[in-house]
Amino acid sequence: MQLIYEKSVAGRTGVRIPLSDVPKADPFPEELRRQEAAALPEVSELDLVRHYTNLSRRNFSVDTNFYPLGSCTMKYNAKIMEDVAALFSDCHPMLALIPGGEQLVQGPLSLIHGLEQQLAEITGMDEVTTQPLAGAHGEMTGIMVIAAYHKARGENRKYVIVPDSSHGTNPASAAMAGYEIVTIPTAPYGDMDLDAYRAAMNGEVAAVMMTCPNTLGLFNPYVAEICAIAHDAGALTYYDGANLNAIMGKVRPGDVGFDVIHVNLHKTFGTPHGGGGPGSGPVGVKAGLIPYLPTPRVVKKDDGSFSVEAHPEGIGRVSDFFGNFGIMARAFGYITLLGGEGLIEVSEQAVLNANYMMARLKSEYDLPFDTTCMHECVFSASRQVKDGVHAIDIAKYLIDRGFHPPTVYFPLNVKEAIMIEPTETESKETMDAFIAVMLEAAQVARSNPAALHEAPLNMPVGRLDETRAARAQQVCCEQ
């Protein structure tokens, strides 16, 4: 398809801007003026609409395709939440920061406070900040809070421990917060090697970051022990909430011994993923860490009203305002609509769907950890590799058959990983259709492996040359 710039015709105009009702000003000073207008597209409104409508049709999405992308929780995004978020479109955030303004924004402030309370109860933490704008941003914020805690105690700890199965964001976020990383290998039981962990834990460790269930979809039975070992050494414990969808109402990280968590509103709480974002990554902490949350805080006063207050001992601002409010409004709506019972049902059905998927596919695909899984299951294409077929080939075959592929080649500690997260919003029929194609792919891998190497054939483009892209570095179109 042509680029919008290639559809541009000099002199064609798009949407009209408002008419001026003021006199023309004296000219803007020449020396400060832009020399040449930016070469933006010149298209009609219909050109624009047709271009982006047709472009949208070149995407798979939750609303059009089953999208079992492991670790991303691609559940259905309820339409009502779009309407709910739109109610706040015209609320200016600076209104909350000018004198007297907070009285005029009590509604949005009450929503922020309400969401913080919901999330605290769901996760078993004492207070929550909504400032972080995505999961990784939440991780970084959480580790900064931990750093502030140690600093306040006069300690200068240097290391953060992460398991090798963690998301790449964990070590990257801890590094941005100023820490060196210690990586612990996975033991045969499917999670962090406890002996190696014990050996690595000492008075120089600031925190251990855990994802539970982990990226293999397994609940770590030693998680309380892992927390206790950290606490004994004066270190804190960080819970990566990427997989919270598995355990709502069953386990609360705060009860188990975690000090700091982040949750991904765009995963667990049903907000749309936007083609890569916006997400939202609120951070919750136990009471002892409340002083170190980022400034400012939304505070409920004795008279029931809400104010925005500086948080003097806390870390500084990690984003410009109160977080991705539109995403927070959707999540608040989701939790309010589902209620406690609804959230429990979410986790139960998510786990049921994943175990069904696992049970139906393990005849044809290697299952490195053959045990009851939580919300996702991780297979390996190692059996298919013997016929020259790799996880990527199976993924591309699925695309031809109308399914978004699972996550492949992650987690890194499983060779040829195929990570499937169906989520609770998918029906048995949808999963059965997917399973049938997965089983068929395994057959084709044996009978005609070359066919899988050619896939996909039914899409606007076939497999793209990534090496060429990296070499050419063509990241914006020539004028």
Binding site: R57, I80, H167, G323
Partner: protein, 445 residues
């Protein structure tokens, strides 16, 4: 309740395939002593009741106030097509385009977005978005540290104070030094900025127009910064780029900014997007996702996520940034906004902002005791000196339904009487005239 479709009969069938007696059995791997001690949430409701709850919250959202406030976030027009097209579920219910063959919609749109940012800022390489204006500025600072191998930043204090707080938080974590240079009145103090550069300075960071609304030409500053082996980072307001010299034209190495004004609603602070662009030679130091052009085996053009070896999912703690999810949908709205207005419309919009603000500026500066503090030209914001405390004036005018501006006393010493007023194209002459009357009344009393 939770949008879960399976019937009790289907659930029984699935459990039979699994070989489990009940759903609860599937949670057996979780030891009993680790089970939740509490889960006290109210019962759920239907979407109809929810809408009523949310309407009452939104009604107390200050949306009837006429905003002459900016602070980096601006009340601009949004063409209807932007909302409708970005609400295509194929865009908003997809995720990061890891599988390019079934994600060409998102990938091509992001490539077009990157191209728009490059063209607006006059630079050569953009990523697919960052979180917001403040974090984009912080990421630019970290990028400069990587590029130069140095450990300090010179930061013009006329940069948005909220953005500066974010920069200080990010850089403080890495023990990098931030030296802030106070402005001279409402203008960047170019001499002191240059004088503050040392052999350890990775970058000088400025904003155009600055927080007071003053527009500068940083071309000479760029040359001085480069002489010392440092980078120039310019934070810019994209709507102003329809009129004002671009960072690229000034010789900047990195441009960043808050993208909200390009087609994103105010939405009480987000979601918006941060943008970042740079020279092609620095592309490998960019944070976040980048879309690049390539071809398939048949030679058909297509787009992929590229240069991923910079990113956290490959490089882990050695990545250029921890960012994973970005603000893709907001960036898409930004692209649709500039495409809807087009080359000429975008210029006209900037011109209209300038005209309206100039009208307001001359009107307000005619009020007794009021003067304009900006020594340089302004775009759509300017700073007034009032004969009394700006905070009290702003607070009193809220009851008349107007947010008159952002008082500077909370952000700058000795500026208690200073007020930054923003006038976008959406402010009508009648609204401007009314604010003049209200200011006059408030200042007489």
């Amino acid at each position: 309740m939770g949008y879960c479709p399976n019937t009790p009969e289907e659930i029984r069938e699935m459990l039979a395939v699994i070989g489990a007696g009940s759903v609860e059995d599937l949670f057996a791997p979780i030891p009993q002593e680790l089970r939740a001690k509490s889960f006290e949430l109210p019962a759920g409701m239907s979407e109809f009741e929810l809408l009523a709850v949310m309407r009452s919250k939104a009604a107390a959202g200050g949306t009837d106030i006429v905003p002459f406030i900016g602070g980096g976030i601006y009340d601009h027009i949004i063409p209807a097509a932007v909302g409708h097209l970005s609400s295509r579920a194929e865009f908003y219910t997809a995720y990061t385009p890891y599988q390019p063959e079934c994600s060409q919609g998102t990938l091509q749109a992001l490539y077009e977005y990157q191209s728009a940012i490059c063209r607006l800022t006059g630079l050569e390489a953009s990523n697919g978005s960052l979180y917001d204006g403040g974090t984009a500025l912080a990421e630019a600072a970290l990028m400069a540290l990587r590029v130069t191998g140095r450990n300090a930043i010179v930061l013009d204090a006329s940069v948005n104070p909220l953005h500066r707080e974010v920069v200080c938080e990010y850089l403080g974590s890495l023990s990098a030094r931030v030296e802030q240079v106070e402005p001279k009145g409402c203008e960047s103090d170019l001499e002191r900025l240059i004088g503050s550069i040392t052999g350890e300075t990775a970058a000088v960071m400025v904003q155009n127009p600055n927080f007071f609304g003053s527009v500068h030409d940083f071309t000479a500053l760029a040359a001085k910064v480069h002489e010392q082996g440092a980078l120039l980072i310019v934070s810019c307001y994209p709507i102003a780029l329809g009129l004002v010299k671009s960072p690229g034209e000034m010789g900047a190495d990195i441009a960043v900014g808050e993208g909200q004004s390009l087609g994103n609603t105010l939405s009480f602070g987000g979601p918006y997007f941060g943008f970042i662009s740079t020279r092609k030679r620095l592309i490998r130091n960019l944070p976040g996702r980048i879309v690049g052009e390539t071809v398939d085996k048949e030679g058909r053009r297509g787009y992929v996520l590229t240069l991923q070896a910079r990113e956290q999912h490959i490089k882990r703690h050695k990545a250029t940034s921890n960012i994973c999810s970005n603000q893709s949908l907001c960036a898409l709205r930004g692209l649709m906004f500039v495409a809807a207005l087009g080359k000429r419309g975008f210029e006209e919009l900037a011109g209209l902002n300038f005209d309206k603000a100039q009208y307001a500026k001359s009107l307000f500066s005619g009020i007794k005791g009021v003067s304009v503090l900006n020594g340089e030209a302004t775009f759509n914001e300017f700073t007034l000196s009032l004969p009394k405390g700006a905070a009290g004036v702003v607070q009193s005018l809220l009851s008349s339904g107007v947010a008159a501006g952002v008082p500077l006393g909370a952000y700058y010493d000795g500026m208690d009487n200073a007020l930054v007023v923003t006038v976008t194209e959406k402010r009508t002459r009648a609204e401007i005239d009314r604010l003049a009357t209200l200011l006059e009344e408030a200042l007489c009393n």
